[in-house]
Subunit: 279 residues, 2 copies
Amino acid sequence: MEAQIQGHNKKLMEFPHLTSAHRDLMVGIISSLENHLDSHLLPSSVPPDVQFYQNQNGTSQGSLHIRSGVDSSHIDFILASWLHLKQPTSESAAINITNLQGYLKPSTDVPHFQFELVQCTPTYLILFLDITPRKDIVLHPDYLKKYYEETRLETYRQKLEQVPETKPYFSSSLYFRQVVSPTGILVSIKCDENGGGDRSEEIIREYVSPIAYDVMGIWLDKIFECGGRSDERDELLEKRDRLIKSRAVDMDLSSSMPSQFGQEVANRVLGVIKNVFSI
Amino acid sequence: MEAQIQGHNKKLMEFPHLTSAHRDLMVGIISSLENHLDSHLLPSSVPPDVQFYQNQNGTSQGSLHIRSGVDSSHIDFILASWLHLKQPTSESAAINITNLQGYLKPSTDVPHFQFELVQCTPTYLILFLDITPRKDIVLHPDYLKKYYEETRLETYRQKLEQVPETKPYFSSSLYFRQVVSPTGILVSIKCDENGGGDRSEEIIREYVSPIAYDVMGIWLDKIFECGGRSDERDELLEKRDRLIKSRAVDMDLSSSMPSQFGQEVANRVLGVIKNVFSI
């Protein structure tokens, strides 16, 4: 209990700019992950001025929560965040990005967990949900079988494909496209601009939410199945992890942070992120 | 000239069951590839009863054309084929599969070339067009840059995405999904069942055809750019190639051949294919 209170980040859990379905999902899934992994995690070491930060006039805001794994755990760290980014297009327009990620140590080859839900407008969302491979699947069909075929992750991708408002989304980063697993869910969800807000909420509650919990559950099962740490090093896996992490930070944050928050805030936040990503 | 006549496969070039736009594209692009690579290729060594084959009552038919590369060439082999597969659903229903592939030797890391156009019905097509990576792109961002970013292959994928009848197609093979490059084109093209045949023809002529020629042109440029053979072996690349090839044969042919053509014909055709694929 102590660890949980220490590790808690009140500001994160407020998710102040989200619709209720989106907020409920994020608060619930982050709590669930922290409960499942509690004995694996150290308290948060994120300083208060990175737990919550904003630009000079407070129109763009962000919150970051990171807990590293204890020495004996396969968990490298979990990261949860939200970003509320004011758009230059209008006074009120803002993008809301929410994230929950779980990175593992090279002591296991279990995939990393990635869940990002972006609210571009109240009726337009982008969803990324995946356990991302740590090995080249073309070279390791056994890896595909163990983590993607036997877990039947494809059924979740197909379930969401049936929702008429969803459409496959192609990231502008060709590198990122290759990082995603063959069952990775990367879709846009576009509802009617007039009154489609309720439908967006419904899609999050009825589809995105249960699928996100189930995929996270499969990921946790694989972590708990994989047993204790081995000291055998897989140098290719380590190199691959480093590349995935450094590209993720570059792509998501390095360019947008300074323009949204100013150089000083950006340096502070990116410093914490780069430190935990070891880049 | 001699080599070209020897290498020619008259039966292949008939493409007897296709619409004219589809036939024109296949005849044109195969001729173009053979002209460009002529000095690289040996004559076809496919026996006549595999150059053309059919089931007992002649309702399913196929044609196969293979030319291996000469010793000094980076070309391993090129393969062109068509399959006309009677469907159990009705007397007249048949699927037409056309293929043009170029596999390279481990003396180069230039991607393989893959072009498959499947006519499921006169108004429903599936297109796969790609240069498939020989290396794990996540581990080799330089490979991504050289063959996919700098060649601007993404513009072709996007051009086709603009055609309203196209939709991303997800292969049922999770392995195959990972073989495809980040700019790989894998789409279904669905036109109106009533009178959409003309539109299918138009899409092949106006979009599929020029894009297929351009992607093949980019691939040929990369082969001619990459210089002479090196004797340095890349064991991971060789292993990856072997796995890609054996999965391709398993997925495409091994199961459907015996049921469509009977075991004897299937053994004969698969024997020739497995031999050139070295599996």
